[in-house]
Amino acid sequence: MSIEIKVPTLLYPFTKNQPTAEVAGNTVGECLQHLVEKFPALKTLLFDYQGALNHLIHVFINQVSAHPDPLTRPVKDGDKILLTMVIGGG
């Protein structure tokens, strides 16, 4: 079971500048937990203190929005999860 997660550019400093990571899990939530195990500094950036997903992050599975309730969405081998963060420059 291998799922690819692509992290937002803004979070590269917390993934040792790796844009993607291979993780395992049956849901988006499990995959993100695995990502946090690999890169612990991401924990407070991806989740709030109650464990909910940071509201400024939007999750896509195979380029389709996983919202609402993205953490419970099932994923399968070969899926690609993409995380985007809101940006405000102009």
Binding site: H55, G88, G89
Partner: protein
């Protein structure tokens, strides 16, 4: 009716199949509100003026600073210290004297946004901060005016077109507390790419040609030279465009 000079000026775009003189006349009658005369606002305004959009309202309260000049191509060294709107209006009038330019040096606020947007066909998001983007998103939905979103950070950019009542809005994608304005890294080519996409969307919407960038968030990665389309959908519980706006 187009004048002889206008037919000649816009000849190459009038030649585009599906565009024609009818499309050019639509542009001539159109009124576009560009919120911001900075990195995004510069290419948006330049290309909409060059294309012959009849009236452009550009709103920005800032003055030109040296650190703006790597990306805000409407402003030059000689404009440092002056208002961005004066600088923008002077250049745009030279680019196309047929276009009416209304440049307003004022702040877009809860109070002013509805007045500034009233009577316009399209609103372009060329802001440099999230709170005003969300204010404009809500204003566009309340006034049922198409809203062309763009944002940049470093080498990365985003764009999406919002048709009120029909497609996903900015708040459908990102909601909750909005981070305050902050200084962000950016290189000028990024807003150039995204601003041109926004201007393209405006032209397509007004002329009624092609397929709009709706329900698709376009993510541009300049470092990899990739464009990724992400499929989004309207959130029925969205506080801006959902079943019960404001709740």
């Amino acid at each position: 009716m187009l004048t002889k000079e206008e037919r000649e000026r816009y000849e190459r775009q009038i030649l585009i199949p599906g565009f024609g003189e009818a499309g050019q006349e639509k542009l001539k009658k159109a009124r576009v509100f560009i919120a911001g005369a900075g990195g995004l606002g510069s290419p948006v305004a330049i290309y909409l003026a060059a294309a012959g959009v009849g009236m452009l309202r550009i709103v920005d309260h800032d003055r030109v600073e040296l650190s703006n000049l790597n990306r805000q191509i409407l402003h030059w060294d000689e404009n440092i210290g002056g208002s961005k709107t004066d600088s923008a209006a002077a250049k745009l009038k030279k680019i196309n004297p047929y276009v009416k330019i209304e440049a307003l040096a004022e702040t877009i606020t809860e109070e002013s946004a509805p007045r500034l947007a009233a009577g316009f066909d399209v609103i372009v998001d060329a802001m440099d901060n999230l709170p005003t983007r969300y204010l404009l998103n809500r204003t566009a939905i309340e006034k049922k005016i198409p809203f062309i979103h763009g944002a940049v950070y470093g080498f990365e950019g985003r764009a999406m077109t919002i048709i009120p009542g029909q497609t996903a809005c900015l708040n459908c994608i990102y909601h909750g507390a909005i981070p305050p304005r902050e200084k962000f890294p950016v290189i000028g080519v990024t807003p150039a790419v995204i601003g041109c996409i926004q201007a393209t969307e405006v032209i397509k919407y007004i002329v009624g040609i092609g397929e709009l960038l709706t329900n698709r968030l376009l993510v541009y990665d300049g470092l990899k030279t990739t464009f990724t389309e992400l499929e989004v959908s309207k959130d029925p519980n969205c506080k801006h465009c959902g079943r019960q706006p404001g709740k």
